[in-house]
Symmetry: C2
Subunit: 496 residues, 2 copies
């Protein structure tokens, strides 16, 4: 794109990142890293092994896995090699890896990596073309619903680690119950997936509109109403009891199998102490075709359009975003027992997994941080450095550069995060300003006379007037590391 | 690519990752992560701020930055949007970011991320098409050579953290000295870059061959010989003294400026305690055009073809790799004061930085680990889990699944990495086998009678016969977490 001036000193193109992508730095980056580190700690606690796959896959691997969303896949240019495309999610690469590695019969694998979708971005809501997914999947033949229950336990631990446990609900459903329910109500076999996707919109649209969509898709009004009666149900274990007591449903083979699974699941969720977080929600359908059993989605009040709009000062319209959509679910997944088999006919490895939408979680946590900052409770520092080494002196002051370097070096060797002004003769106020700008908590101040007798001044920055240590105190160089470490244990550190 | 069978149950394409890419998992992944974590800890210690940029950039951003290597850039397909390409390194994205963010005058930024080059892969040597770089750069106007010296201090700390400090040499040179030297010897201005790239091969080729290349590039034999005399010099500070004492060189303005920089550098390197790691090497030239001052490259004995061949049992030819190339340099960088200016005529931000070649470092460390393993000193476990919860019982044994779940849950809540057999009635030997396969150090064993009185058995796995705790001991459930934590503090943990 040529700028108006077009010549001379101007560049002939826009200086920006590609559409739907962004740079991450500073407080955003620290927050995102802290989310990753909390999540991967939980994954490891559950025996997770990290897998890293290439950012692009052969096109044939991705083909036929994503239905109509395949149009969102980024292709690499044909430069005389293999046809490749950027990965769309982390599930298909896992299935490809499992199909390739036939010695692997069981694995709990996790992967935290970027995925790519040529979708309409909505930056304010954290919906980008390049975004992170954090996936945990349990692959292998196990007794029914044990891994499924552990995945839900992981969900609770992750949101506990993020301090969001009080705001989440895990919506549960079972593909077999859903399919059986449709069958029992009289939905024709070939309409089940399309009716299912209409039902999935019940969290965004009122029943009337969903019913209209069903009728447009060719469903008889009375069948739609019958479906409607059931899919409006949501709650705890009592929903399972209602299903089992229902004459129509309990006669259906699919429903029966699904109900047996749910029976076990509720038992295991009790042992794992997560019953209070789940909602058995018969309207949950999930888009992807490959699910074969339990499905789930984690929502918060911000997931809905109203919740999100309320949390935003300015109208979200100003970002060109669809105001009818909230942040959406912040984690989702389910059981997919046949995907690996698509890659290797000899391999049948049942899988169940969860994908955390980190960018959406980030959006929510950032709002909370900004709220905290407004209320003066911010805990995020601009830099992670702990010590600033500075020097001062009178007339003819040398700047003590080599001495500052040597003291910084002493602290680095002890693993302490240290900076100093990178100039030969910095003025003292300038050095304090640099330390302040980084939110650095400690200063080590060198003076020629003190250093001559092996001492430096240690000063905690930002102490209130009148504090007994406001002016700092002298420390011998041999004890400097120890004294700094003592101070740091008492000082607010950046979140991580 | 169709397989021979071509039909029925077979897939119509190869199940693999794209050429020059690979999956990472298991011990490899744990080792790589431990390298990243050691490096980023050093980066943070020096006030580094993490930047994350998109994996692709607008093509115009990358254009004209890499000389003839531009042909190695991966383009994205034209799908009706902007022309984009996968990043080739992390330096150009940094320069683009600095140009875009005009409020940033100073920054120490680091980035650990994958880059992409459509080059001939050499897997055994860690040269891939998708590979990681770990970059640390200091941007901003500072007094001369202070940031440059800190970068070299960082190099030493990184290789100390990796336990490789005894095997590295940092080769140093200065572009101004090199250019001045060529000028003083009579190399014509327009041949300086091409002669420079011939000189750069002196670490791989004997002088005769390098001289031949120079002559082929049109240099007179006696000029080549004069250049040869100088570029064979390498050593410590004495090289600088020799340059200053040399009549021909000391008269050259470029050499004079470079020598002043080197004078300061040696002073600062002494304060930072890294003098013993550097070698002032007049043959070091570095390929990229954008360097303007100090340049450096970190080498190990494995960097050379002979060193690498010696370290490999099988001939490296069997991998189709060029046997004339070693692992190469394992870190490299230099000062580039004009790159940001290429993106924004209004911005002139001097930069100096280093890029660590993690995949090459990985290759070297993995060889060492394998050597250790052969000698029975392996410290890497297959899994990171710390506890396996199991149960046993006599005839009519229920399997105690819910009880195992509940105990696992108790440990998870305390942050302890715990697994259990995901089946209803696992046999005891099967459970021990699972724990063993993962190298898990502790077992918590449930028996119905013990659990009835609130006790479980804690057992350290792999203890020698006759050890007093070989059979484990009973612990009450209230004290279980505390006892496990005590044990873990005494047990070998995986490297990280």
């Amino acid at each position: 794109m040529a700028t108006k001036e077009g010549k001379s000193n101007k560049l002939s193109f826009q200086l920006k990142t590609p559409k739907g992508t962004r740079d991450w730095i500073g407080v955003d980056m620290i927050l995102r890293e802290s989310i990753f580190s909390a999540i991967s700690e939980v994954f490891k606690r559950h025996g997770g092994t990290q897998l890293d796959t290439p950012v692009f896959e052969l096109k044939e691997i991705l083909a036929g896995k994503y239905g109509e969303d395949s149009r969102l896949i980024y292709d690499l240019a044909d430069q005389g090699g293999e046809d490749s495309a950027l990965r769309y999610d982390l599930t298909v690469p896992l299935a490809r890896w499992l199909a390739m590695n036939s010695s692997v019969q069981h694995i709990k694998r996790y992967q935290i990596a970027k995925v790519y979708r040529r979708d309409q971005p909505a930056v304010a809501k954290g919906r980008m073309r390049e975004f992170y997914q954090c996936d945990f999947d349990i692959a292998g033949s196990y007794d029914a619903m044990i891994p499924d229950a552990e995945i839900l336990r992981i969900v609770v631990e992750v949101f506990e680690a993020l301090g969001m446990q009080d705001y989440i609900t895990i919506k549960l459903n079972h593909r077999k119950i859903l399919d059986g329910l449709f069958g029992a109500c009289g939905v024709p076999e070939d309409k089940i997936r399309s009716i299912s996707s209409a039902v999935d919109k019940l969290d965004k649209l009122p029943w009337d509109q969903v019913k209209l969509e069903m009728e447009e898709k060719g469903l008889a009004s009375e069948v739609a109403d019958k479906v409607g009666e059931y899919v409006k149900l949501s709650g705890g274990r009592e929903i399972l009891d209602a299903i089992k007591a229902d004459e129509l449903l309990s006669a259906n083979e699919n429903v029966k199998k699904g109900a047996e699974d749910m029976e076990l699941l509720f038992k295991y969720l009790e042992a794992f102490d997560v019953l209070d977080k789940v909602s058995f929600d018969l309207s949950l359908a999930r888009g992807l075709d490959y699910y074969t059993g339990l499905i789930y989605e984690v929502v918060t009040p911000l997931s809905s359009p109203e919740g999100f709009a309320k949390s935003q000062k300015k109208s979200s319209k100003s970002n060109g975003d669809d105001p009818n959509v909230g942040v959406g679910s912040i984690a989702a997944g389910g059981r997919y027992d046949d995907l690996v088999n698509m890659f290797s006919k000899k391999r049948q490895i049942p899988c169940v997994g969860i994908s955390f939408g980190v960018d959406r979680i980030f959006t929510i946590m950032k709002q909370r941080l900004e709220q905290d900052a407004k209320e003066g409770n911010s805990t995020v520092r601009a830099s992670e450095s702990d010590v600033f080494v500075m020097a001062f002196g009178g007339k003819g002051f040398s700047g003590m550069l080599v001495e500052r370097m040597s003291v910084a070096n002493q602290l680095w060797k002890a693993g302490i995060k240290t900076e100093f002004a990178q100039s030969v003769k910095p003025r003292l106020p300038q050095q304090f300003k640099l330390a302040e700008a980084g939110g650095i908590p400690l200063a080590v101040i060198l003076g020629e006379d003190e250093l001559a007798v092996g001492k430096v001044k240690l000063k905690e920055l930002g102490l209130p007037e009148g504090h007994p240590e406001k002016d700092g105190y002298l420390v011998s160089r041999e004890n400097l590391v120890e004294e700094v470490q003592k101070k740091l244990n008492k000082t607010t550190l950046p979140i991580r």
